[in-house]
Symmetry: C2
C-alpha cells in the first residue's frame, strides 16, 4: 500500500524562542538549524525577520539546509497596501524559501486585538499570500486561534482558511493558539475543514496547555491534516509547543502510523534522536528532562526490584519500544530500592562483569545504600558509581591521597561600591606513593582554583590528566534536617571527547565540589589504565 507523506514543520527557532529563559544567539540558531536538518524535518522556521535585529541578520543569507527555510511574520497591516508594509517587505526580501504569515481567524480577535473588520482581515490574507507567491516564495498561513474561532463562528474561520488556500498558500495551518482545545474537538474540527480544503494542504499547530499537544497533533493527522508543526523538546511559550521529539518516534514506531504514513526522518536518523534532544539542552544550558518520552534518561529506566528482574527476562514487559530505536538505553536504577538484579545490570551496562552469587555484590549494595542515605545520587554520576564498584571489587588501584587543601576568596569593594579586587586561590597537598606534593593555583572561582591546584602536579600520573577539563557543574541543596546537605555533580571531558560525571556530598559546597573533582581524576586515571 502506498504511504501518505506527512510533513514536519519545526518552529523551535521561532515559537521555541518564546520559551521562558531561552534566548538564542545567532550561532545557536545556526547550530539548531543544522541539527534539525540532519534529523530530517521538512521545514525549519528560522524566526521573524524584521521583528528583531538577530532574526533579520539570520535571514540575510540562507543557511545550507536540505530542509525548506521558512520566515514567519504578520499579514499586511490594516489600512496599508502590501507594497507599503515594511513588515511584509522584510519577509519577502529575506533569504527564506517559504513565508509563513500569521493571520487572525477568530472574528472576536479581529475586532478586539486587531480592531479591524472581518473583510479587511480576509483581504490582508489574500493580498499577503499573493505578494509572496509573486515573489516566488512558497506561502503558508498560520490561522491563529483557529479552533476557538471555529467554535465561535465556523463560517468566518473557514473563510479565512479558504482565503489563504484560494490565493495560493501551499499550507493552511490550523493553530490552537491558547492550547486549550481537546483532542476530540481537534479531530472533529479538522474533519470539517478537510471537506473544503484538501488535507494535504492542511497543517496543525498545537500548544501543551492541557498536556495534550501531542495527542492533538496526532488527532489532526488522523482526521486528515498532513503537516504537523512543533518544536524540539517541546520548547515554546507557556507550556510549550507540540513536542516533535515525541511525535517523530510515535509516527515511525507505532505500527498504525508507520504503516499509513511516511516522514522525512528515517529509522536510521531516529537513532540520533536522543543525542539531538540532549544537544539542544546542552546549547540552552538546561538539564535534560529525565522523564521525557523516548529520549529521557529515565524513559527506559526501571527502579522497582520486581520490574527490574522482569525487564531483564523480557524487555517487552516494561518497554513499549526498543530503547535503541531512538538512541536511548535501558537503565535499571541503582537506588535505595536497589536489588541485586538492578546492580548487576547497571554494572553490565558499565562493562563490569560480576557473578550473580559474588559475595562482593552484597558489600557493594550495602555501600551504595549507605552512600545514598547520606545524599549521594548515582543516577547522574556513572563515573562515581563505576569507581565505587571497582573499589569494592578490588579492581581500582590506589593512585594518591589528599593530605589537605585550603581555599580562600577575598573581595574588596571600591568606595562607590563598585568593583575593586576579587581573588580566589587554592592550595592542595597530595601524597603520591609516599611523596608529598603541594601545589597552589589561582582561579576565576574557588572550585576552578581547587581543580587547577589538584591537577597541577600528580607526579607520574600527570600525563594522564593534562587534557581533562571541567565542563559542567551543578549544585543541589537539601534542607535535610537542621544542616543543609549539598550535592555537587561535576562533568568532565578529555581531549578524546570522553565525558564522565561524578558526585560529591557535604554540608560544605567547596568540600562537595572537591570530592567530585577527586573522583573525576581517579576515574580518568582508571580508564586510562594508569597503574
Amino acid at each position: 500500500m502506498m504511504k501518505e507523506r506527512v510533513t514536519l514543520y519545526d518552529t523551535t527557532l521561532r515559537d521555541g524562542a518564546q520559551t521562558t529563559g531561552v534566548d538564542f544567539s545567532l550561532e545557536d540558531k545556526r547550530q539548531i538549524a543544522a541539527l534539525l536538518d540532519d534529523l530530517g524535518v521538512d521545514y525549519v522556521e528560522g524566526g521573524y525577520p524584521g521583528a528583531n535585529p538577530l532574526d533579520t541578520e539570520f535571514f540575510t543569507t540562507r543557511p545550507k539546509l536540505r530542509a525548506r527555510f521558512s520566515a514567519f511574520g504578520m499579514t499586511r497591516r490594516q489600512g496599508r497596501s502590501v507594497e507599503n508594509d515594511p513588515g511584509v517587505a522584510a519577509l519577502l526580501d529575506s533569504a527564506a524559501d517559504a513565508v509563513t504569515f500569521v493571520a487572525k481567524s477568530w472574528d472576536y480577535q479581529v475586532k478586539v486585538a486587531l480592531r479591524s473588520t472581518e473583510e479587511d482581515n480576509l483581504q490582508g490574507i489574500t493580498q499577503s499570500v499573493k505578494a509572496a507567491v509573486s515573489k516566488q516564495k512558497e506561502a503558508a498561513v498560520d490561522c491563529e486561534h483557529f479552533f476557538d474561532g471555529f467554535k465561535a463562528n465556523p463560517d468566518y474561520a473557514l473563510a479565512c482558511a479558504k482565503a489563504a488556500y484560494d490565493s495560493g498558500a501551499r499550507w493552511v495551518v490550523l493553530c490552537d493558539t491558547n492550547g486549550g482545545t481537546l483532542p476530540h474537538e481537534v479531530e472533529r474540527i479538522v474533519a470539517e475543514v478537510v471537506k473544503v480544503i484538501p488535507g494535504d494542504h492542511i497543517g496543525v499547530h498545537c500548544h501543551d496547555d492541557t498536556g495534550q499537544a501531542v495527542a492533538n497533533s496526532l488527532a489532526a493527522l488522523r482526521a486528515g491534516a498532513r503537516q504537523i508543526q512543533g518544536t524540539l523538546n517541546g520548547l515554546g511559550e507557556r507550556c510549550g509547543n507540540a513536542n516533535l521529539t515525541t511525535i517523530i518516534p510515535t509516527l515511525l514506531l507505532k505500527e498504525e502510523f508507520a504503516e499509513r504514513f511516511e516522514i522525512g526522518v528515517s529509522r536510521d536518523k531516529l537513532t540520533h534522536l536522543t543525542r539531538v534532544s540532549h544537544a539542544l539542552d546542552e546549547l540552552l544550558n538546561r538539564a535534560p528532562n529525565r522523564h521525557a518520552p523516548y529520549v529521557g534518561a529515565s524513559a527506559f529506566a526501571t527502579k522497582a526490584g520486581i520490574h527490574a528482574s522482569a525487564v531483564l527476562t523480557d524487555p517487552r514487559t516494561y518497554e513499549h519500544v526498543p530503547p535503541e530505536s531512538v538512541g536511548n538505553m535501558r537503565r535499571v536504577l541503582v537506588s535505595d530500592q536497589a536489588g541485586r538484579s538492578n546492580i548487576i545490570s547497571e554494572l553490565t551496562r558499565l562493562g563490569v562483569n560480576v557473578d550473580k552469587k559474588d559475595p562482593r555484590l552484597t558489600r557493594l549494595l550495602d555501600e551504595v545504600k549507605d552512600k545514598e542515605a547520606q545524599g549521594y545520587a548515582y543516577e547522574g554520576a556513572d563515573a562515581s558509581f563505576f569507581l565505587l564498584a571497582k573499589r569494592v571489587l578490588g579492581e581500582a588501584p590506589h593512585y594518591f591521597d589528599i593530605e589537605r587543601y585550603s581555599v580562600a576568596v577575598d573581595r574588596r569593594f571600591a568606595k562607590n561600591g563598585g568593583f575593586e579586587d576579587l581573588g580566589a586561590e587554592a592550595i592542595v597537598k597530595v601524597n603520591v606513593h609516599g611523596e608529598s606534593r603541594i601545589s597552589a593555583a589561582e582561579g576565576n572561582g574557588p572550585v576552578n582554583a581547587l581543580d587547577l591546584a589538584l591537577r597541577k602536579d600528580l607526579g607520574a600520573y600527570q600525563r594522564f590528566i593534562d587534557d581533562v577539563r571541567l565542563v559542567d557543574y551543578r549544585v543541589r541543596v537539601f534542607q535535610g534536617g537542621t544542616d543543609a546537605v549539598t550535592r555537587v555533580l561535576v562533568e568532565c571531558a578529555d581531549g578524546a571527547g570522553n565525558r564522565w560525571s561524578t558526585v560529591g556530598v557535604s554540608a560544605n559546597v567547596i568540600d562537595a565540589s572537591f570530592e567530585a573533582i577527586v573522583d573525576a581524576i581517579n576515574y580518568k586515571l582508571l580508564i586510562s589504565g594508569a597503574t
Copy 2:
C-alpha cells in the same frame, strides 16, 4: 441534567515512589496523603505493605483521611492458597480500607513473567478478591498490561477483568503498563470492555511513554470508564503516570467535562492546586516544572512583546482558562525581548506603579537588558528585580556598603584518607552610614559563613533581619565562552512566613552567592520599611 460521578484514585505514594530520584520518608508519605485528602481525591493509595519496612509501617495505623486509604499488592502466588500467602496476608491485615491487587491480564505475561497457567491466574484473581471482601475490605484489581493483552488475546484479557468483577471487585482497572497505547486505541478498547462490565466499575491507569497519559485517561472517560488513576505532578516510573494535576483542572474547567461529570475536587479546592503541586516539589526538593500545564510558573507567562500587549488588553487572547481558577497567576516576563508593556505589567504585579510615559522606565529597561546580557535572570528572582526597579525609580534607601569580605575553607585528611578536620569561616566588613563594622563567623560551608557574618552586625538595621534565614540555594553554571559564568539563586524566608528570591552572577560562585545574599538583606530592609 444529573451529573455522573468520576472517581479519582491517586497512586503518588505507590507508583509515584517509582520515580527516578524519589524516595519518600514516612513523614513525606503522611504529609502528601494529607495534601491529597485536602484537595479532594477519592482514594489515596499509600503503598505496598509487606514489600518494604517503610510501607508496612505506614499501613499499621490508618492516617486520618476522608479519602479511602488503599493498599497495593499482588494476587496470591501460584501454587499457594490465599490463606498461606504472606503477601496477601500483609494486605488484608493492614489498616487499609481498600486493597488493590495487581494481576496479569496478558496471556503472554502469564507465561513469560509469571511462568503460570491462564487458569491459575484467573483463580488467583477470584480467590484474592473474595478473601479481601470476606475481610470487609473494598477490593480492586489492576489488570496489568490490559491494553497490550487485549490486542493479543481479547478473550483472555476480558476473562481476567470479568473474574475480578464477578468475584466482587468494586473496581476493575485497565492498566497501560508499558505506556505505549494511543488514545484512540484506549477509546476503542474501553468501549469494548464496558459492554461486559458496567463503566462505573471500570478504572484506567495510564503512563506517559508517548506523552499521552492525560489524553489516554480522558479518552477512557469518554468511552465509559469512571475511575481515573494518576499521580500529583505526573510522578511515576519512566516518563511518569497520568498527571492528576493536569486532569483535575481539565475536568473542572473544560465545559464538556464539567457539564457531564462531577468529581470530589471542588472549584474552591481547585484554587489550591498550584500550591499543592509546588508543596510536593518542595517535599521532594525538586525545582517545580515551570512549563507544567495549569500550575507551572510559565503556564500563564507571556514573553513576546506583541502577545504581552494583547494579553493585557484581553486575557482570553492567550489564556485558555483564568490563572486564578487554579491558584496560578499571569506573568508577563521581564526578558531580553522585554518591551515597556512587559516591564509595566511585571511592576504592577509587584505593586510598583509607574506611568507608561515615565522616562525612568527606559532607564530600567536598559538596566534590565544590560544585566540579562551579563547572565542575570529575573524570572526566578522577583526580589532582585523589585530592588533594581526601586533603585532606578529612586525609591530605595541606601542602607549600607560592603567594604570587603573574605572566606576560607580548609580541610585536613587523616592518614587513612578519612575525615580529620574541615572548617569554613568568613569575615565581612560593612559600612553603615559612615561607620565600619567588621564581623566574622564560622559556618557549615562558605556561603553559610558569609551569610552569618553579614547578618551579624548591621547596626541600626539588625532588628529587621534577625529572623531572616536562607531556605534554598541554587547554582547554574553557563559555559559562556572561555570563562564560565555562575548564576546563584537564593531564597530567603522570615518569621512572618514571607519568602523572596534574589539572584547573583559572577565567575566566582562565592561572589555570586554573596551578591544574592546582599540583595536578599536589602530587600528585607526595604519591605520592612527601614529607613
